[in-house]
């Protein structure tokens, strides 16, 4: 049982802005897990540590690292139902299932999140208008409550607890296992149509046109990269990519239907010393070069995994931002709030905070999860060097803009939001708090995020 003994570890969020030295337990067996849960008054549940901020870092107490519980329990190739332990990475699931013609219906920008983390953050992909978010493809999940009871939750039974756990940021209990519904695919390839746009209006128009197609096809993905350095009339110019699944007929005869895509780069890169290589000059140069190099082009065939998980090809991305790390500010606004996108880009530009990476996606219908991020409309994500946010409240005006447009920030990525605006952004939080309190009356679950934003009742 040596493996289950607590160890002291230095942990950070994916953005590396927040660090904590804390006691970490990695209980491999159910008995050890239950023991650990009953022994510790305050616990933060952690998966692969891909939340940018402090969602998987402790405010107080210990951290339960779930990555050692990563077994694929069963996979039915007839129905596409997969039962998997929550610590398994999406990558492991895809490695196993894609060669037999099944894929996860929703994959975020990285495959290196755990299944439990994907449920707890109710992650979305680039196909949200048609496919919804991750939680909508979960048949059931097994949850270890703070009283050590294991309960099975689904939308069919105890739906309020189920939807409080989906998107519940790991604050309702420990997700142990889940049954996921996978989706059939003909090939492991996608066809990409690319369009270069010259202004924000043009980008939005292109994305709107794609969203109509996305609503009809759950397998149609779209993302717009915006040139964060552009301003004036070119503000919001970018490259709009639309992907859809390739059939065997779309592929040249010599190409196998399922490519051997192994996304490399598993080693954690140390942060570069000092400010890193990301600076205003490098951002300006890289953004301009990317926009000029990205010509409009149709019908390019790409491996599905390469297209959907760009973050996995740039494992060293956070390291490039230097010791202070990066803040990703991602928010969603309703369709009529597209003006907020322009205001945010203008605000960042005029305050000298040119984003190193700016991406825009369409969102479709929301979910029943009171803390789930997705609402119909737009979501914009900007990566900013943390060293530029001299004050913690540097982005507060943006919080106000977003909240007053009926939008919200993405809790899984947050490290800077104004706590007072959270109830406005998530108006059903009271409902989530009721259920959270029912599942955890003694207040065992916690996290840096929960304490900072006052999420818990």
């Amino acid at each position: 049982m040596m493996l289950d003994a607590p160890r002291t570890q230095d942990l950070a969020g994916w953005g590396r802005t927040v660090h904590r030295t804390t006691q970490v337990r990695r209980p491999t067996f159910d008995t050890a897990l239950v023991e650990a849960v009953l022994a510790e008054p305050k616990i933060t549940v952690r998966g692969a540590g891909r939340s940018y901020g402090d969602a998987a870092l402790p405010g107080a107490g210990i951290v339960l690292d779930m990555t050692c519980r990563d077994r694929i329990v069963s996979f039915d190739e007839g129905t596409g139902v997969l039962v998997v332990e929550a610590g398994a990475l999406l990558k492991d699931v895809i490695d196993l299932t894609l060669p037999s013609g099944w894929k996860l219906p929703v994959v975020p920008g990285t495959e290196r999140v755990t299944v439990g983390g994907a449920i707890a953050s109710d992650v979305h992909g680039k196909n949200h208008p048609g496919a919804g978010s991750f939680g909508q493809h979960v048949h059931w999940l097994a949850l270890l409550r703070s009283d050590a009871a294991i309960v099975q939750l689904s939308a069919g039974l105890d739906a309020d607890a189920f939807w409080a756990t989906v998107g519940g940021m790991g604050l309702t209990g420990v997700i142990l296992r889940a049954a996921l519904q996978l989706e059939r695919v003909d090939t492991g390839w996608v066809i990409r149509n690319r369009r270069r746009t010259r202004s924000l209006d043009e980008t939005l128009e292109a994305m709107r046109a794609i969203s109509v197609r996305q609503e009809l096809d759950p397998d149609r993905h779209a993302i717009a990269w915006l040139d964060g350095h552009a301003h004036g009339r070119t503000l919001g110019r970018g490259i709009v990519d639309e992907f859809y699944g390739a059939s065997t007929l779309d592929l040249p005869t010599a190409v196998p239907p399922f490519p051997e895509t192994r996304i490399t780069g598993t080693r954690r890169r140390r942060s570069l010393p000092g400010p890193g290589i990301v600076s205003r000059a490098t951002i300006a140069a890289a953004s301009t070069a990317r926009w000029h190099a990205g010509r409009s082009m149709n019908s390019q065939v790409l491996p599905l995994r390469t297209a959907l998980s760009p973050l996995d090809r740039v494992e060293a991305w956070p390291a490039a931002f230097g010791r202070r790390g990066l803040v990703q500010y991602q928010f969603a606004v309703p369709p009529e709030g597209s003006g907020v996108l322009r205001e945010v880009l203008v605000y960042l530009g005029t305050h000298g905070m040119t984003p190193a990476l700016t991406t825009l996606k369409n969102l479709g219908f929301g979910t029943a999860g009171p803390l789930s991020f997705s609402i119909p409309g737009w979501t914009l994500a900007v990566d900013l060097p943390a060293r530029w946010l001299h004050r913690l409240d540097a982005l507060r005006p943006l919080d106000k803009l977003v909240a007053s447009a009926g939008g919200r920030v993405y809790l899984a990525k947050d490290s800077v939001t104004d706590p007072e605006l959270v109830p406005r952004m998530y108006p059903r939080i009271w409902s989530w708090q009721h259920t959270q309190q029912r599942l955890d009356p003694i207040g065992r679950w916690t996290s840096g995020l929960a304490e900072r934003l006052g999420l818990l009742p």
Binding site: A155, G156, L157, D158, A159, D160, W163, A368, R428, S431, H434, T435, R438
Partner: protein
């Protein structure tokens, strides 16, 4: 004998909750609230939990197929049988005529048949006066309710000799969230009044109950009058 589970289909309905609370009996007892995920559904679940009932919620959609309804009921009755079911499904604000008929009528009829076949001891259908007196302004709602009402009465006749009892409740205008903002007509009533009438109708083993009782007579009289002689909102 320990009672089985109670199920309220349309778990966010105010009238449904009032009737459920009146018929439930003392806690502890297992209760399932079924409906579309909503704050009201979850608020109602919390309300019941705080007074000691063991409550589960479940997603339920009026567009479910027969197989899906059976599957869902199997799931709900896995631990102990459902012996009281209140069907309070209804919407005045459907997106289309077809959806209005399906939500208020077809979906409910299929559910009632499934419940009767499972031998549910007491089924209460919240129908409407509009089932007997359809109105142009709420045509889809009226036709849906008519279908559900007729199905329930047929099933009540069919199961008269068995242990299954079906009660059809026909309230008129009930002041709730759904009717908030609408002009309140004569003979309007409240969810609590509906619940009281339902409780006494269950005790009296009746098949149809009007709320208020005078509404039954009023509707029958109204049906004798040519429509063109009536004010527009009563046609």
């Amino acid at each position: 004998m320990t009672p089985g589970s109670a199920l309220l289909v349309g778990g966010s309905s105010e009238i449904g909750m009032a009737v459920l609370l009146r018929l439930l009996g003392p806690a502890p007892r297992r209760v399932v609230l079924a409906g579309r995920p909503s704050d009201e559904l979850w608020r109602n679940a919390e309300r019941l939990r705080t007074v000691g009932y063991s409550v589960s919620t479940t997603e339920y959609d009026a567009g479910l197929t027969v197989e899906e309804i059976d599957g869902r009921l199997d799931h709900l009755a896995a631990e102990d049988p459902l012996d009281l079911v209140i069907v309070a499904v209804g919407s005045l604000a459907s997106k289309s005529f077809a959806e209005g008929v399906v939500v208020n009528g077809l979906g409910v009829s299929l559910l009632l048949r499934a419940l009767v076949h499972r031998g549910t001891e007491q089924i209460v259908l919240l129908s409407s006066a509009a089932a007997v007196r359809p109105r142009q302004a709420i045509a889809a709602y009226s036709l849906g309710k008519q279908l559900a009402d007729s199905t329930a009465r047929l099933l009540a006749r069919q199961t008269a000799e068995t242990g299954v009892r079906v009660l059809v409740v026909r309230p008129g205008f009930v002041s709730t969230r759904m009717t908030a903002g609408l002009p309140v007509p004569a003979l309007s009533t409240s969810p609590e009044h509906v619940a009281r009438r339902v409780a006494s109708a269950v005790d009296g083993r009746r098949t149809v109950v009007w709320v208020p009782w005078i509404l039954g007579i009023a509707v029958r009289v109204l049906n004798l009058v040519p429509r063109r002689l009536l004010p527009v909102d009563l046609r």
